[in-house]
């Protein structure tokens, strides 16, 4: 089962390395990991998607909490959080296929960021599921390149972790 863990850490060199090495050392599987600074420049927020059972997720939380540079760890409640991922996708496009590609972009809400005589590049920020759908729909046109950021997420409502 996929769980989203939000981690506040000291914004210092080496912290990300410690966290990723913890995951490999403890044999925790991660689907994605995204990191960025918060409104407090001394803090970074890391969003980690773990695909494991509850007991493993509990261990992940506890092991993260043990790290001196980790300030807070919270597994987000699936029903009340906003999780988004950014994808940039480059697909082969010719005069014949451009209109079809545009239709799918409109349906999925993707924005065209670049266009050339042989290709189109789109960007889409949405849930991982919807990104997958978009990617599937683009596949018949021959995808040239894809890049995804990994999910970032926050809990809904006025609270904060």
């Amino acid at each position: 089962m996929k769980k989203t863990i939000s981690v506040l850490v000291e914004n210092q060199a080496g912290v990300l390395n410690r966290i990723t090495s913890l995951f490999s050392r403890r044999a925790f599987n991660i689907d994605s990991l995204a990191v960025g600074v918060t409104d407090d420049p001394t803090l970074s927020r890391i969003t980690i998607i773990v695909d494991s059972g509850n007991s493993v997720v509990e261990q992940v939380e506890k092991q993260l909490n043990k790290m001196v540079e980790v300030i807070k760890v919270r597994t987000l409640d699936e029903s009340t959080y906003i999780g988004r991922e950014l994808m940039i996708l480059k697909v082969a496009a010719t005069m014949k296929t451009r209109a079809d590609i545009m239709t799918i972009c409109n349906i999925c809400g993707a924005k065209v960021s670049d266009i050339s005589t042989t290709s189109m590049t789109m960007e889409l920020a949405d849930t991982p599921d919807r990104l997958n759908t978009f990617q599937d729909m683009m596949r018949p046109f021959h995808i040239l390149e894809v890049v995804r950021t990994g999910v970032i997420a926050l809990q809904k409502g006025g609270g904060k972790i």
Binding site: V9, E10, G14, N17, R18, S21, R25, S55, E58, Q59, K62, Q63, N65, K66, M67, V68, E69, V70, I71
Partner: protein, 542 residues
Amino acid sequence: MKMTGAEILLEALRREGVEHIFGYAGATICPAVDVLRSASDIGYTLVRTEQNAGHMASGYARVTGKAGVCLVTSGPGATNLITGVATAYLDSIPMVAITGQVPSGLLGRDIFQEVDITGSTDAFTKHNYLVKDAADLPRVIKEAFYLATSGRPGPVLIDIPIDIQNQEVEAVFPDEVNMRGYHPSVRGNDKQLDHVAEAIGLARQPVIVAGGGVFLADARDELQLFAEAFGIPVVTTMMGLSLLPSDHPLNMGMIGSHGNLCANKALAKADLLIMIGTRVADRAIIAPEEIHRRMPSIHIDVDPAEIGKNLQPELPLVGNAKVILQQLMERDIQMDCIEWRSQLQEKRIEELHREYPWREESVTPGRLLRALGKKLQRDAAVCVDVGQNQLWSCKNLWLKDTRFLTSGGLGTMGYSLPAAVGVKVAQPERQTVVICGDGSFQMSMNELAAVSSRKLDIKILVIRNGVLGLVNQIQHTAPYHGPFGVALDGSPDFEIIASAYGIPSIVLENDALLDGALERFLETEGPCLLIANVDPACTTND
């Protein structure tokens, strides 16, 4: 006042109450070593390889409760130290390891004697630091000692580039530590304590499983008081050995794959496990799922991550073992398990007094270790190595208020002699004994130099059977096909080795000579080596 990084280091170590450093100098640590020259209040032991600086610091830490300190140079000095640090990490020993590093401006260029030691030790230090500004040193050192000794103790490594040791800055020494990501629990949750007290009250066949965490929390007395107050039988892990004397009526021995029958029976038949300061490691609790299926358990540990890692307890209780045991003692618990206790005691007494086979041509290890233990002073420290010598000691060494020290988690051969040096440096008055095999002795016998130069009164028992005994034993059982690479051919004459260091030795040939040899061994003034010849066919099951 302006100070160099090295001067700040010395001042900060003094402020932490450091009295001794185990080290090995090299180019990049020279500024730090240079200031130690004038520090007559801080002792220094030169080791013969850096790994042993870690083990000495470990022995020192385990008997004092203070962080052991080691200091080595960059590159190979730092990588040699790694096994010492990892050994301390697996046994949660408080330690501060200081390594020299190449100039900070040249980091990452692979210059002479550069390794990324902080990156290398992430997985087995509690925390580590690469210092890039001497002004950070006072804070870093204060934090390092606090981290090493608080919560679940462990080694902390500080890597200091040589230019930072020479950098002159205005030094401000903080009075306290302020780390927003580190707040270890001390007191147990009151509500959870109620549940724990209730569960204990309902039990008819409870057993306490005590681990090394009890020693780390300095809770040996509290454990004994708690067990005695309710008459609850106690079993220990290897790291918990010597929490109770061998013949304490509640001590049922050591559990696990190398434990004794009575302790394992207690574990298997209990209706409540009270685990204190133990991480439910595979050698101690072989089948956690089976234990979980059979009986409820209470798990008391200062490290929340240990609870549920290997065994999901019914009642987790996070906090310091000493404090929690005191809290539990304040509760009104009514419990009676006399029948259970007497069943176990019968079995235990039988085990404690079992007869050993008599050997004319060699020494019977069990007989030797029981006799040795009985002849030691009440509070002797016994540093035991890894392998057959360790397992024989676990089962047979007679314990009074002895302190049993071994590398339980990592199983590092060569641990015993340097650890004993650390013990003896910390507590010169304490009777200190090493028990090792001829394999493990050869891993660190170079430290006889420390014994000799400091004239340390350490008694060293080498159990000699000419093979790497435990591996040999494993190779004799399926699926393996027989011994290979375990014969210690080419071993030197240990008597000559000892005498080369100015240390007398005694060779013990057989069981009949045992008592006399042990007496001479223990009565010799200063260090002494006792070499006991054991039949290589003798296994840990004998």
